[in-house]
Structures are given as C-alpha cells and as structure tokens.
C-alpha cells in the first residue's frame, strides 16, 4: 500500500508538469464539448484527437493524458444536451434524459446541471480511487499470465463484448471477426509472408490503426448524422437557481455513491460500458426508491445515479486496459491503438516498465476531474452556447480535422482513400446495426491474439491442449462461455416473467 502511494505521488509529479496540466485542461474542455454534441461520443472524440496527439509529437504520457481527459470529459458533457435538449449527447447519457429533461422543464435546469456535474465528479473520483486500489494488485497477478492465459483472456474479452451487446450478439461477433481479419493484413513478422496485400506496397505494412478508427467512427458518423438532423430550437433555457442546495446533496448522496461503486465494477468488466452501467443503476435506484420516487418525472436521484455510474464505468474501464492490456470498451481500445503508435504494448509489465506513464495517467485523472467539476459548474453557460453552433459549420470542421489526423501519419492520398472506404463500409455495417466497438477491439487485439496463440502452440509443438491447461485459463474459458450463454438465457427467463404483467416496463 505504501508503495502504491509512493507511485501515486510520483504520478502527481508527472501530471503536475505544466505541459501535462495544460493538456489535461484542454482535453477536459474538448471532451465536454464533444460529449455534449449529439451524435459525437467519447469514442469519436478520442479517435479524432488521437492522430493529432501523435502528429503533434506529444510524448506518450502526455498523449494518453489528453485522450483520458477527453474520455472522462465526454462523460461529463453528455448530460448537458440530455438535460437541456432531451437528446443524449452520447450513449452513456441516455438514462440522463429520463429525469434530467423533466427537471429542466420544471425550471430546475440549473440545479439539474449542477447536481449531475457533482455526481459525475463523485463517480469519477470513486472509480479513480478504485483504479489506485485494484489496478496494481491485478497487474501483479497478471504477470503470471503466459501466452495460453492471454489467449483465453482475449477470448473472454470478446465474449463479454459480444454477449453484452444486447439484441445482436451474432452481429457483434461478426464485427469482432472482421476486425481480427483486418489486423492480419500485411507482413507476418514471424515468417515474412505477406498476407492479403494483393501485392500493394501501401498495404505491406498493414493498415494504419488511425485510418480504420477515423473511417469507422468519424466518416461514417458524418453520414449517419445526415439521417437524424435536429435543430437546437427545443433547447430549454436554464433558469432559476444555478447550484443545488444542501438538501438535494444529502438526498442524492447515497444514490450517487452506490451508483458510483456499481458503475466502477461494470466498467472493469470488459465489454460492458457506460451505457449498461447507467441503465443498471437507474433501474436499481428506481427499485430502491419504490413508491417514494417520481422516476421519469424529474426525480433528482434518477438524474444523479446514471451520471455517477457512467462516469465511474468510464474510469473503471481503464483497469483492464492498463493492467491486462485488454481494453474493455471501444474507447479504451482506441487508446491501446494510440499507445501502439508509440510502440508501447499495454499489459501487466507496463506498471513496472513505464510507471511514469501509468501513474501519471492515474494522477491526471484526479486532476482532470477537479478541472471538469470546475468548468462544468460555473462555466456551464459557455457550453450551452456552443450547442448552438450550426451543423453546416460543425460537420465540415469535423471532417477537416479527421482528415488532417489521417494525413499527418503517412502523408499519402492512399491512406485518405482507405479512410473513406472504411467510412462507407462502416456506415453500411452500422446501418445493419453491426456495432463498431467489437470491430475496433478485434483490430487492436488481432496481432496480439495471433502471436499469443502461436507462441502457446509453439511450446507444445502444436498440441492444442495447452490452451486449457492452467487453472487461470480454465477459469477464463468458463467465464467466457458463461458470458455468451448467460445473457440469452436471462433474457428468455425475464421475458417469461414479464409477460404476465406487461404493464410494467
């Protein structure tokens, strides 16, 4: 424990460097804006900024601090448009509309904005403390992982992300397979064989991660935005009290705290993310409140709980990424890709080899959260003004910045064309409700997964049994199978139980 605190102290040394403080503030600000804009979520924000961070030649820890601040900032920003427009700014903020918008309509917009900023802050802080407590332990434990265990772990991650993807697990699985297949393009470093390049020199190095991410999340998002355009005409002016009072704070305290803990746990699980965490805690609080609650009609607890949970889960998803090198969400998958640009492979060794990076990141999460609380309570007016930036200016801007990011890596037209190709394919897939997060996860993990599989099988000279030998890998396989089998079974049982009294939703 003392050792951990010592590391954290050093981490604050890194995070407090003027450059990193500046970057954290910038990231927090940009993140809030991106999160607030409907249609753009953390994954888009991180994807668009990642190539720029690389092009600006920021050192890896600074780049990671920027991206992390953007990620956390997005979870703060999503609530603003939920409350004022009844349009969730990002997927994690869907539940926030249920009680946030009614509160704003009752003239409590200012209170809703400030209390949700506060519960976002509590959620993030609880989860960041959680990272400090659990991440080093998990990393030490994971040092014992061999290639077979890693392979099983990655299968577990895929099982989580596909099993929890709601109504279309098969499509999520297909997305993951497409991502994995894309990662095999290029030179196979073990044997010197070129795979799926079609003889093209541009592809011999494989496809750039940035090209895929920007194509799939930025270009296709622009095409999707064409379909549901909306105007900010329905925006409610925040009126009355700006700040919540002591009573409201006390009233929501336990909901906020409980939801933070649940959100953190959900966030640590690979695959489950802010969306699931906020939905879970909302229904949990609704049940706890019972008949005393006015959920759906402007109950302040129904606002505080999902906000705390989505922030906590965002921070929690750093745990598997930093300790195991296996990202638990689409956004952290993009961050792993960002690290790979710096030739850094996240994993348990990261804690021993790059303590400045890991602990600098954790410390800057604390700092970024304080900054976010500060800019989100007094300065919320600045952000609400930004909601009225028209799309005809915003969308070309996003497109220009995205293209600059891709261009900055290799400065070739080929990469830009490939980006557009991925944008169109991504758009078509998303239209078919194929989720993109598993695709990115597959693309990021593909090489690692194949290498670990081949290394494991090299040990036994091709005997496949090694994958199921150690207790750790057996445990992981059982978890993976459970993740795939359990959700449909649960859904089936729930449906049976719900059918008699369909009135309740």
């Amino acid at each position: 424990m003392m050792e951990t605190l010592q590391h954290l102290f050093n981490g604050f040394g890194v995070a407090m460097l003027p450059m990193n403080l500046l970057v954290a503030a910038l990231g927090a600000f940009l993140g809030t804006v991106v999160g607030m804009l409907p249609g753009l979520g953390p994954i888009n924000g991180v994807a668009i900024l990642m190539p720029l961070a690389f092009a600006l030649k920021l050192p890896p820890e600074t780049a990671l601090i920027l991206l992390a601040a953007v990620y956390v900032g997005c979870e703060y920003g999503g609530r603003i448009s939920s409350i004022l427009l009844n349009v969730p700014g990002d997927a994690g903020a869907i539940m926030t509309t249920l009680d946030g918008y009614p509160m704003a309509r009752k003239g409590l917009g200012g209170v809703a904005l400030s209390i949700s900023a506060w519960s976002s802050f509590v959620g993030s802080m609880v989860a960041t403390v959680g990272i400090v407590m659990f991440a080093p332990v998990l990393a030490r434990w994971a040092l014992a992982f061999g290639p077979a265990e890693y392979f099983a772990l990655m299968c577990f991650a895929f099982a989580c992300i596909t099993g929890l993807m709601g109504d279309a697990p098969m499509k999520a699985a297909l997305a993951a397979i497409i991502g994995l297949s894309l990662s095999t393009i290029g030179l196979d470093s073990n044997s010197g064989v070129y795979r799926f390049t079609g003889g093209d020199v541009h592809l011999s190095d494989g496809i750039q991660f940035i090209v895929v991410v920007i194509g799939v999340f930025s270009i296709s998002e622009i095409l999707l935005m064409l379909e549901h355009q909306h105007s900010s005409a329905g925006m409610i002016k925040e009126t009355g009290r700006k700040l919540f009072n002591w009573m409201e704070l006390k009233f929501t305290w336990w909901s906020t705290f409980r939801s933070s803990v649940v959100g953190f746990i959900v966030g640590v699980l690979p695959g489950a993310g802010a969306t699931i965490a906020s939905a879970m805690t909302y229904s949990m609080e609704k049940r706890i409140a019972g008949s005393s609650g006015t959920f759906g009609d402007g109950d302040i607890r129904g606002l505080a709980a999902p906000e705390a949970a989505n922030n906590a889960s965002a921070a929690g998803s750093f745990v598997p990424m930093l300790t195991l090198g296996v990202p638990g969400s689409g956004t952290t998958a993009v961050m792993v890709g960002a690290l790979s640009l710096y030739n850094i492979t996240p994993g348990p060794a990261l804690f021993t080899q790059q303590p400045a990076l890991v602990w600098g990141l954790i410390a800057s999460l604390f700092i970024a959260n304080v900054m976010l609380l500060l800019i989100n309570i007094p300065l919320v007016g600045v952000f609400t003004k930004m909601l009225s930036v028209p799309n005809w200016l915003l969308v070309p801007g996003i497109l220009a910045v995205s293209t600059v990011g891709v261009y900055a890596v290799h400065a070739t037209t080929f990469d830009l064309m490939l980006m557009v190709g991925f944008g169109v394919i991504g758009y078509l897939l998303r239209k078919q409700s194929v989720p993109m997060a598993p695709l990115i996860l597959g693309f990021v993990l593909g090489d690692l997964m194949e290498q670990n599989l081949r290394r494991a099988l090299s040990i036994t000279n091709g005997e496949i049994g090694i994958l199921f030998e150690s207790p750790i890998s057996i445990g992981l396989w059982i978890c993976a199978v459970t993740m795939v089998v359990l959700p449909p079974v649960v859904r089936f049982v729930l449906r049976k139980r719900i059918q008699p009294d369909q009135a309740t939703v």
Partner: protein, 148 residues
C-alpha cells in the same frame, strides 16, 4: 432481407480469404503454427457467422427505409473527392470546396457554407501547420502559402 445480404457478403468474403490464404506457406518454418492458420480460422468463423445471418435474419424491416439516399450518396462522394484532391488542391482550398456540398447537406445555404469553409480552411491551416507544426499540403496554392 438486408441481414441476408450482409450474411451472404460475409460468406463470400470468407471464401475469398480462405482462397487467398492457401498460399501463405513460409519457405522455412520455425513454429508449428504458420501464417496460414489464423486467417483460415477467422475465415471459417466468418463463414459460420454469415451463414447464421442468412438462415436466421433478424425480423427488422428494411433499414434503408426513410434513408436520404441521395443526400448520403452526395456526401460520401464529396468526402471521396476531398480525399482524392486533398494533396492536389492543398488543405485550405480543398476544405473550402468540400464545405459547400457538406454544409448545404447539413442545412446551411451555399454562401454560408462557402464562407464557413474558407474560414475553416484558413483557420485550421494556420492552427495546425503554422502553430502546431503538423505539416499540411498547400497544393496548387503553394505560391501563396509556401510549402509543398
């Protein structure tokens, strides 16, 4: 219906993958699992997934219904042309040109969009190229902006 198309496309892609991968045999092998196995495994999984979608498509109606196909085609074409001419026209000019069709697709009139596009082109050029040192192409306007 469209689930079936998606599934069929997956099966075809998987078949192409498996066909392309059959030659991936190294001259020397140091390991039991060569470069061919993993792509083949993926091709098999993709074929299974695709076949599943063909046999058991979800019962959602046509997702293309209500899609502004023309608008999306126009925007996709614009992005394509933007990518193609990015180096030739240079960033400031290409961005100004791109902003007109994209801006009008998103509810602006063409005058607003053009002015906005010129602003974005110049603003981002100054920000990235001059201030942040991310080199951008200047293309045919290099006599004004310098650079390539």
């Amino acid at each position: 219906m469209s689930d079936r198309i998606l599934g069929a496309v997956c099966v075809v892609v998987a078949a192409c993958m498996a066909w392309a991968a059959q030659d991936y045999v190294p001259a020397f092998s140091y390991e039991p699992v060569g470069p061919r196995a993993f792509p083949r495994l993926l091709a098999a999984l993709m074929a299974i997934g695709g076949a599943w979608l063909v046999l058991k498509p979800s019962l959602v109606g046509n997702p293309l219904q209500g899609t502004p196909v023309k608008l999306i085609g126009l925007s996709a074409a614009t992005v394509f042309v933007y990518a193609l001419l990015f180096q030739v026209l240079g960033f400031p000019l290409a961005t100004a040109v791109m902003a007109v069709p994209v801006g009008t697709s998103f509810g602006g009139n063409w005058k607003q969009s053009l002015v906005g596009g010129i602003g974005l082109g110049l603003g981002f050029y100054l920000l990235f190229d001059k201030l942040l040192d991310v080199v951008l192409p200047t293309g045919i306007l290099s006599f004004i902006f310098g650079g390539r």
